[in-house]
Symmetry: C2
């Protein structure tokens, strides 16, 4: 079924604790999500970049053949969003070195008419007011899920609360769940968010996995125990891409069902475990379905205890 | 099959972030382990206390009918080990308020002759030199597993390294794995410890679950996503108690087998999830097999993704 993602496409500079770094690589929540989701089926991308967006990054995106870039706006005279960050010793924590919003400060990208019948909608991390605006352009979403970040909880809390009334699910980090709700326990935090509207919340814990807090139950999954962790950028976005991609591919009668989501999270877990093995989308660009399926099977047997 | 545990029995004072506290409650690695393991079968306890050890704590231990206290020495004129601690906002971190070693500074307890044929041996947290000494008194262990802590890594590293050559498995916390090996990645840390002798290492991550690093593979399990967390004291010891108790009960031909251990860890996960719901052994003292089995089944279905 039709899956659409809106969010940012950026040019990233990333420093790792091991001393390696990459300048000007392809990044952004939407790019990571779409690349991951494309392993499961077609994905429609809506985002804006400037005319400084390098041909090589266009080429990288086009390597993911099932990404439909009809909604990728290249704006003359605008500059692409740029972000630089440094991972601290613990790969789950990072500091931003610089953030140049550029095109993100302009009018949001337009959803092409041909995308308006999308059934699966992922609102990757951006201002919750824009997320709501983009969601309103989709005619009849079957499942709408949003991501968010600490910045929006700080500066756009009301917009985020309004968005929560319109989406089926929210995906956010462990620290952000605490920030939004004031409670450290991720299950309690998740329940408080459910009280504001959604059917489910996925609390992402990086290397420690994820917790699903749903009106019908609670579930936890570990991360795949990866030994090769070079650059965690995009892990959360590709997790969401695998989760939503699997849901769109299987198109269950109720994609917000507890057990369905729990299994979809496992697919997100596996695609995310590849993402972090190198910088940017490099690992995904060379990934095959066979490798994904083999790791999924390994992971499934790793947690099979029934 | 026969399971033996050696370690500390203490009198604890515990402060929680919620402002609650308990003074003088039953604690110690050996007490927690034995209480948990007793749900799976008989468990032989070897530890020493002073004559200040209250009757009420003896009574609590005797509520766990399958704990054999023939190896519990009550020393006239000695004082019981006492520990006070305060949990910080994050329940996974605590500070020690006081530590009175008392009887732990005297000669170690003696393994009764009737316990020397024990097949499953758990060396709960204490000085690794004493752990090795106690292990040497067991005639023919089928599976020997040790726990340790940051203090011994600091002050008795050589003794710990020597112990690693004698045990099948080591159980330790995430921070301790890093402390011992100098690497943050728990899988890499585990592999380095394997190089020193054991067949497997279990890296405990508190609320984030545990990772098994084994010569034959790596596995991860989440913790049970608990909403009621009052006092995490003893979570790791009862995790080990459930794991070893399950192994002793089922007595597989190779208890150090990867898949066998992976499943045993799930039993540890569940019994630990009860421990933290109240102070001391209070929750375990009122626990039934039915409750354990129901939560195990819930957990198994929560992580079933195959």
């Amino acid at each position: 079924m039709s899956l659409i993602v809106t969010g940012t496409i950026g040019i990233d500079t990333v420093y790792t604790p091991a001393g390696e770094h990459r300048e000007g690589v392809l990044g952004g929540s939407c790019a990571y999500f779409a690349a991951a989701a494309s392993f499961y089926g077609p994905v429609r991308l809506v985002a804006a970049v400037g005319d400084d967006f390098p041909d090589s990054h266009h080429a990288t995106l086009s390597r993911f053949e099932r990404i439909d870039t009809a909604g990728l706006e290249v704006r003359k005279g605008s500059k692409t969003f740029r972000w630089g960050g440094k991972y601290l010793d613990n790969m789950d924590h990072r500091e931003s070195l610089f953030t140049e919003l550029n095109v993100l400060e302009e009018a949001p990208p337009v959803v092409p008419d041909s995308f308006k019948d999308s059934e699966y909608v992922f609102l990757a991390n951006m201002h919750p007011g824009l997320q709501a605006d983009l969601l309103s352009q989709i005619e009849s979403p079957k499942l709408a899920v949003a991501d968010t970040m600490d910045l929006w909880i700080d500066v756009a809390r009301d917009d985020l609360a309004a968005l929560l009334k319109k989406v089926d699910g929210l995906v956010l980090n462990y620290d952000e769940a605490e920030q939004y709700t004031g409670t450290k326990n991720p299950v309690t935090a998740g329940r408080r968010i459910l009280d504001e509207g959604p059917t489910f919340v996925v609390v992402k814990k990086g290397e420690h996995g994820a917790i699903l807090v749903h009106r019908d139950g609670v579930a936890a999954l570990p991360a795949y125990p990866a030994e090769t962790v070079i650059d965690p950028t995009g892990a959360g976005d590709t997790f969401a891409g695998g989760m939503m991609g699997h849901l769109a591919r299987t198109n269950p009668s109720d994609p917000a069902d507890f057990d369905t989501l729990r299994r979809a999270m496992a697919h997100g877990t596996i695609i995310a475990s590849f993402t972090i093995e190198t910088f940017s989308l490099d690992r995904l660009a060379g990934l095959t379905d066979d490798k994904i399926n083999a790791r999924y099977a390994e992971f499934a047997s790793m947690v099979a205890i029934g």
